[in-house]
């Protein structure tokens, strides 16, 4: 039986990378990509958990997460298109129309 710790460690590393990208990147496309990486890290963690307890549930959850990521990406990209049409930029820091104005 393969050790479950290395995929779990990989998942943690991937999540941290995604988080870093989310916090550091201004371009919203890259932000979306970072979110995808974080989702994949979560999926990988499910698989690692499936390994740990020798059940297929983790893999089933991974497929569900993939579906979710796809759906989310579709909506996210649509939002990005609208945002670009409105602000003529993909800079996340420029999209602050909902801030407290005072």
């Amino acid at each position: 039986m393969t050790d479950w710790r290395s995929p779990a460690g990989l998942a943690l590393a991937l999540f941290m990378l995604g988080l870093l990208g989310l916090l550091a990147r201004k371009n919203l496309v890259f932000v979306l990509m970072s979110v995808e990486i974080m989702l994949n890290a979560a999926g990988l963690l499910f698989i690692a958990a499936g390994m740990r307890w020798s059940t297929p549930d983790g893999q089933i959850m991974f497929i569900a997460v993939l579906n979710l990521a796809g759906a989310e990406l579709a909506i996210g990209l649509a939002l990005l298109l609208r945002l670009r049409g409105r602000l003529t930029t993909l800079d996340g820091d420029a999209a602050i129309l909902l801030r407290d104005s005072s």
Binding site: L23, D93, L97
Partner: protein
């Protein structure tokens, strides 16, 4: 005729309603006819009732006209009915007849004033309330009239409301009497709780049967009712409103603040005399308070320069005499003085009004002078009134009533009698001081206009009454007629028939004469004129302000009240809750800064939050 008793208060009430609703749309002439006519009709009905009464008195000298039942509760009921006995008959006659003359006077006096119809509406309403007060068979109904006259007094004192000081005087009279009325209301509630009814006859029967004389229950009830009466009748210590109430039109002062409303306290005590007789302590307090009042009023009257204020203090003093008689249990003497006082004081006020209306409403006696040749009618009327007020022997009604009254006081307490004599002396001084200053000496003021019949007729009628009604009750050495006490005796019992020793009536005659002589002497050597010309010294200022009661009340009651009001104005309890609100707002202002719209910042916070939760779950 007696069955039409309800018309007596109803007619002025109808007049008030008509004038109040559509008086402004009617011409002044119609207003005057309605205003004076309604009271005139009421006076006519009262006179007919009185004639019928004298010819065929009803059984027991009591007539009750039930109108309707007002309140019926388990344990308490109150009926709205009119009650006529010799006391209320007398009061009804005084109010309606003198009221009619004053209305008649007003129709000319107030000619051309703004608010002519309003004036008559208020005045009619006053007469209606006053008649209800004296005719009520139930103390609760009486209280309605009692409050009604208070409201009308307020409205009429503040009749010229455009001037702020008139409004303040009106408020003062209203508030002071209202404070007294709260005590009275408490007394009524006490009686209602104890007796289950406020019907006057039932209360008196109940009181005599169930409360022994001198116990605390009748004393408490009488004390509370008396407080109401003292406020209404401007007696120490609730007298401060009366001199200020002179801000109203002069006929109003004549009707409300001299002849009728201010004597309501006397009427209340006489009406409940059987109850008060059970509280000897209260009667003693009445007598002492009255002695203080009449001396205070006489001293204050000595230095006033406003003719109406002189008369106001004299009213206070004469009502003090009535209360003095009540204090010694001489109910009949008090009622007789009430009757004569109503006549001659109305006469004095009306003649003072007649004088000042021709002097451009000048009321300062030192600005008048030498008027006797120019205004013979006002001069004669004022002279008759002043003679009555000073109680100059034999010729006038004031002498007879004061003689009767002081004789009764002598029988009970020579000390109080001595105060009464001193008051009579001072009364003679101050009223003749005003008399000589106004009518003699050099002429100072410009006159205008003249008098019509509607001014002269009331003056003549009241003057004739003032000179004659005294003979209803003459002392022993002047024929000893006792028509008046015989008339009242079914209601209040016969007056004691022990004539006082000769020096009592003799000093009663000498004191006012000495007072007039002193006033004349001081007039002749110019003392009064110098007094008017110089600035008042400390003593005179104190007297002029009625012994500083106003200042004391301002310091002891008004200022603390205002301080409390100011402290409570910003609601200290609410302040604590506002602290919470302010904290929430401050927090909100700080927290809203994190809502900066930056996606990455939000994500960072979310992550930090998740991490914190995670650490909490793992390590805690």
């Amino acid at each position: 005729m007696i069955a039409y008793l309800w018309m007596v208060p109803a007619l002025p009430l109808l007049g008030a309603v008509v004038l109040g609703l559509c008086g402004g749309a009617l011409p002044a002439r119609v207003n005057a006819v309605i205003g004076a006519g309604s009271v005139g009709l009421a006076a006519f009905v009262s006179l007919c009732i009185c004639a019928g009464w004298l010819a065929h008195p009803p059984p027991g000298q009591i007539f009750v006209e039930p109108l309707w039942s007002w309140i019926t509760l388990p344990g308490f009921s109150s009926a709205f009915s009119l009650y006529l006995d010799p006391i209320s008959l007398l009061m009804m006659l005084i109010i309606s007849v003198i009221g009619f003359f004053i209305h008649l006077f007003s129709t000319e006096y107030m000619q051309g004033e703004a608010g002519y119809s309003r004036y008559f509406a208020y005045l009619n309403l006053f007469v209606a309330c006053m008649l209800l007060l004296v005719l009520a068979s139930d103390l609760l109904v009486m209280f309605v009239g009692w409050e009604g006259v208070g409201v009308c007094s307020y409205l009429l004192v503040g009749f010229w409301f455009a001037e702020a000081k008139n409004g303040e005087a009106a408020q003062k009279s209203f508030i002071v009497t209202r404070i007294a009325d709260i005590a009275m209301l408490a007394g009524l509630l006490l009686l209602a709780l104890q007796c289950g009814t406020l019907d006057i006859r039932a209360i008196l029967a109940n009181a005599a049967a169930s409360w022994p004389s001198g116990t605390w229950m009748p004393a408490l009830a009488c004390g509370l009712l008396l407080a109401g009466g003292l406020g209404k009748s401007a007696q120490v210590p609730l007298q401060t409103w009366l001199p200020d109430a002179m801000a109203g039109p002069t006929p109003v002062s004549a009707l409300i603040h001299a002849a009728t409303m201010v004597t309501a306290g006397v009427y209340l005590v006489v009406r409940l005399h059987a109850l008060f007789a059970l509280a000897p302590g209260v009667l003693e307090a009445i007598a002492i308070g009255a002695a203080v009042t009449l001396l205070l009023a006489a001293f204050a009257g000595l230095v006033q320069s406003d003719i109406k204020r002189v008369l106001a203090y004299s009213t206070m003093g004469q009502i003090g005499y009535m209360f003095l008689a009540l204090g010694v249990g001489a109910w009949g003497a008090a009622m007789f003085h009430l009757l004569t006082h109503a006549v001659f004081k109305a006469l004095l006020f009306l003649s003072a009004g007649a004088i000042s209306m021709r002097l451009h409403h000048e009321q300062n006696i030192f600005a008048m002078g030498g008027l006797w040749r120019k205004m013979p009618a006002a001069f004669a009327a004022f002279a008759v009134g002043a003679v009555c007020l000073a109680a100059i022997p034999v010729v006038d009604c004031g002498f007879f009533s004061k003689e009767f009254l002081l004789g009764a006081v002598w029988a009970r307490s020579p000390f109080l009698w001595g105060i009464g004599i001193a008051g009579a002396f001072l009364t003679g001084v101050y009223i003749f001081r005003a008399f000589f200053t106004v009518f003699f000496g050099p002429r100072k003021a410009e006159m205008s206009g003249g008098y019509g019949a509607r001014i002269l007729l009331p003056l003549a009628a009241l003057g004739a009454l003032a000179l004659t009604i005294g003979w209803l009750q003459a002392p022993e050495f002047l024929g000893g007629a006792n028509l008046f006490s015989a008339f009242l005796s079914p209601a209040i019992g016969a007056a004691p028939q022990t004539p006082p020793p000769m020096f009592v009536p003799l000093s009663g005659m000498a004191a006012p004469l000495a007072g007039v002589a002193l006033a004349y002497h001081l007039h002749a050597n110019g003392f009064w004129r110098r007094q008017g010309a110089t600035a008042p010294g400390a003593l005179r200022q104190i007297l002029q302000r009625g012994f500083g009661f106003d200042a004391a009340y301002r310091l002891l009651l008004v200022q603390p009240f205002l301080l409390t009001v100011n402290a409570l104005r910003h609601d200290p309890v609410d302040q604590a809750f506002q602290l919470l609100e302010r904290a929430a707002v401050a927090l909100h202002k700080n927290l809203r800064r994190v809502q900066n719209g930056k996606l990455r910042r939000y994500a960072g916070w979310m992550m930090a939050g998740s991490l914190a939760t995670f650490l909490l779950l793992v390590f805690a």
